[in-house]
């Protein structure tokens, strides 16, 4: 009688234990709390349509209080928020945006048909959180073009910004090819090129660009 012809009790017990571990593992498998609703391709399509931009002049109605379907969320930290923000805005810093209660809240706002406008100092800072929320399926989230900096500058005359599109990003300020070939700058002395430059530069509100 060879050993392997005896009762393989221990083998069975071990393998069953292994199977139990797997089955238990499968049932308790951590389901991702948040799931993307958009594929990267869909996100791109959304960006292409430029949907989701909230323009400064649209703020007018909100600030006057006759538009209660819009809610403003300041994504900066509590300290910056404390130093001043847009009226009626609520502060949820970007880091806490995905916490359970905030997600629940956003979920609720979405089902109530409220448009949520997120902003930070500039559009760039709010861009990531905005894109992420959109990818998670919150189609009611908009991002404030120009951000808080732009708002602060034009606070008194927001409706006047409707014709002014300087807050729009993603455009070239210079003819790069020309500059690179050196036809403008090269050959001039330092001072000359410098003074020439500052005149030629398109006077764009510097704030919207984050210090550049």
């Amino acid at each position: 009688m060879h050993v392997h012809e005896l009762n393989p009790k221990r083998t069975a017990v071990t393998l069953v234990l292994f199977a139990i571990v797997i089955v238990v593992g499968l049932f308790t498998m951590a389901n991702p709390r948040l799931k993307y609703a958009q594929t990267p391709g869909e996100t791109l399509k959304m960006l292409r349509n430029d949907a989701g931009l909230f323009f400064p002049h649209q703020l007018v109605g909100v600030l006057e209080g006759n538009n209660d379907t819009v809610m403003l969320i300041d994504l900066r930290n509590a300290f910056e928020f404390g130093r001043g923000s847009i009226q009626h805005a609520e502060n949820i810093s970007a880091v806490e945006l995905l916490s359970e209660e905030n997600i629940d809240r956003l979920e609720q706002l979405k089902s109530n048909g409220i448009t949520v406008v997120v902003f930070a100092d500039n559009q760039l800072e709010a861009n990531g959180p905005w894109m992420l929320l959109r990818q998670l399926g919150f189609d009611n989230i908009m991002v404030l073009a120009g951000g808080y900096d732009y708002y602060k500058k034009r606070q008194g005359n927001l409706s006047g910004t409707a014709e002014n599109d300087t807050y729009l990003l993603g455009t070239a300020d210079y003819n790069f090819a020309e500059i690179a070939s050196g036809t403008i700058a090269a050959g001039k002395s330092e001072d000359a090129s410098k003074s020439g430059l500052s005149i030629k530069r398109k006077r764009k509100p510097a704030v919207a660009e984050g210090g550049c």
Binding site: H2, V3, I22, G25
Partner: protein, 202 residues
């Protein structure tokens, strides 16, 4: 917790060798307890009188493969960080032939010979000595064979990439083949044992 632990730095370097020793002890224990410390048990797989090698080896491979796939599915292990042995086609084919010949002659493989030394087998000691000599000869001859050694490098390819079947399917095929082999060898073993009087079947 998500594996593998050491490559991800969850277990730090200083525990490396303690873990190595413990895993080695478990490995050695299982090998010896299964009967791999006897070259005649091992070589039995080639003559049909003892299929212990096939049973232990194949069962281990199957269990580990199944476990790995489930672990990967459950997110317990990052498969990208699990080392995949690189494939050097010609070198590996030749190496396997040489090893196969060495296996039939020596009756051990390196791991099993260590456990056999532990329980006092002189032939295992000689085998390990041969191993040392073999690697020494290889290293000395390396400048002349390095071209061959590095030829046909396919990189760290997996079965799935070469054969085009999913890991799950590959595992399933191996499991079915393994189970057929287990039941089949059982019958072969029974028949061979009747005629074989030289080997005390334990």
């Amino acid at each position: 917790m998500m594996g593998p632990l050491i490559p991800q730095g969850i277990i730090t370097g200083e525990w490396d060798f303690v873990i190595a020793l413990l895993l080695g002890i478990a490995f050695g224990f299982i090998l010896e307890a299964s009967g791999f410390s006897s070259s005649r048990n091992i070589a039995g797989v080639f003559y049909g009188y003892n299929f212990v090698v096939l049973r232990v080896f194949l069962t281990a491979v199957l269990v580990a493969m199944i476990g790995l796939l489930y672990f990967d599915y459950m997110g317990w292990i990052e498969m990208d960080l699990v080392y995949v042995l690189p494939t050097y086609l010609r070198s590996m084919v030749v190496g396997s032939f040489i090893m196969g010949l060495g296996f039939v002659l020596g009756g051990f493989c390196p791991g099993t010979s260590y456990t056999a030394i532990a329980i006092g087998k002189i032939d295992a000691l000689v085998f390990t000595g041969g191993l040392f000599l073999g690697i020494f000869l290889f290293s000395e001859a390396f400048p002349w064979i390095s071209g061959f050694y590095y030829s046909d490098n396919l990189g760290n390819v997996t079965v799935n990439e070469v054969l085009g079947i999913s890991n799950e399917l590959f595992t399933f095929i191996l499991v079915v083949m393994g189970l057929v082999a287990f039941w089949g060898t059982w019958l072969i073993e029974k028949r061979v044992r009747k005629t074989n009087k030289h080997y005390k079947f334990e």
